[in-house]
């Protein structure tokens, strides 16, 4: 059974799957804050990324935001259907709205991320 997701302070979630790969997405809070998504750029498969590095960009109505790799590793798969169906991000941010799958290279980095309770506390403290 896949582990519970963990969260980066930059609002990405990551879940370690049974096959040892990690699925990454954007939290429901972040998707809601973006509103009216119009374009998304995903990374190339095979790209090596460092934790905290920008791995793509998303444009909502008149705002462009980056999203970041929660851990270091290699991009092994991207959700290629997502840029053409951006409404999926809002409908199912923790399921069909996933962004990329990574092969983590530094598994210890996962431990430094926020659990659900800590992330919820972070969201509560965000300026509105």
């Amino acid at each position: 059974m896949a582990a519970a997701p963990k969260f980066a302070k930059t609002h990405e979630w990551i879940r370690l799957d049974d096959d040892g790969l990690a699925t990454v997405g954007i939290s429901a809070y972040a998707v809601e804050a973006l509103t009216d998504l119009v374009f998304m750029q995903l990374p190339e498969v095979g790209r090596a990324v460092k934790a905290g590095e920008s791995i793509g960009e998303i444009e909502s109505v008149k705002a462009v935001s980056d999203f970041y790799a929660p851990v270091s590793g290699e991009v092994v798969e991207v959700n290629a259907a997502l840029p053409g169906n951006l409404e999926t991000l809002g409908q199912d941010p923790y399921g069909a709205g996933w962004l990329v799958r990574l092969r983590p290279s530094e598994t210890g980095e996962l431990a430094a991320l926020l659990d659900q309770a800590a992330y919820d506390a972070l969201v509560k403290s965000q300026p509105h």
Binding site: L34, V61, A63, V64, Q126, P127
Partner: protein, 263 residues
């Protein structure tokens, strides 16, 4: 450089006109400065020649196909939104740390600048208001020019000739960086030669031609600063990043064809 000890209010620079890449580079460095100082910073500026700035993800092919802008220099902004033909507008960039009350919900920062200008203009007899519509009108992203689009909070002036959407005079767009938000905005003063359908403030309110533009902007930003809980600190010298080499590097990046053709 700004005084880091006072973190409320607003520091604003009035910069000389510059080419597109230098303007974008200065704005990017403004964001780094705002993050370092922990306070909002504003840069108000012009363009050394008529220039088209594209939104961060607009297609270059669409710009090439827009024959009305043929021959004009192009620069791609880091911020989103539609293309702007600069030359008859006044451009501003505001950079805000993400930890600032304006660094959360994107609409809050739009509204802080747009409503403050609306208040100042209404006091001067201009029927300016924020566009009330939904955050994006249907098909809006298909429209190439920013001033053909209407988003929630855009500043419009309703006239007898345009009672539905109103004529847009101020639009803004953001780039949400890791530690800061950079917002670009354009106040249209007169119609761009290639887009005469956008009248701009001076056509909509001819009395505005007699106004001291710098006085108007100062009054506007003083209202914005009050929203941020402090005074307006105006710098009449150019915004000069502490390391000139950073500026040159950043401008080279915005001049790089790979940046312009990224989509």
């Amino acid at each position: 450089m700004a005084d880091a000890s006072a973190t409320s209010g607003l520091v604003a620079w009035w910069d000389e006109p510059a080419p597109g890449p230098e303007n974008m580079a200065a704005d990017e460095l403004l964001a780094a400065e705002a993050l370092a100082l922990g306070r909002p910073l504003v840069r108000v500026y012009g363009w050394s020649e008529p220039t088209v700035s594209l939104g961060g993800f607009q297609r270059l092919a669409d710009a090439r196909a827009a024959t009305m802008i043929a021959g004009l220099p192009l620069v791609r902004r880091p911020s989103g939104g539609g293309a702007i033909v600069h030359g008859t507008d006044l451009t501003y960039a505001v950079a805000v740390p993400r930890s600032h009350p304006w660094g959360g919900d994107p609409q809050v920062l739009y509204d802080a600048f747009h409503e403050s200008l609306a208040e100042e203009l209404r006091q001067r007899g201009v029927a300016a208001e924020r566009h009330p519509g939904r955050s994006r009108a249907a098909g809006d992203e298909e429209r190439f020019l920013c001033f053909d689009r209407r988003a929630q909070g855009d500043l419009v002036v309703r006239t007898a000739a345009n009672t539905t959407d109103g004529d847009k005079i101020l639009g803004s767009a953001q780039r949400r960086l890791r530690g800061a938000v950079l917002q670009h905005g354009s106040l249209l003063l007169e119609p761009p030669p290639i887009a005469a359908a956008h009248p701009g403030l001076l056509r909509l309110h001819p009395a505005a031609a007699a106004w001291d533009l710098r006085h108007l902007v100062t009054a506007w930003l003083t209202r914005v600063a009050a929203e941020a809980g402090g005074p307006l600190d105006t710098r009449l010298d150019d915004f000069a990043p502490s390391r000139a080499a950073l500026m040159a590097d950043a401008a080279a990046r915005f001049r790089n064809p790979a940046w312009l053709s990224r989509r």
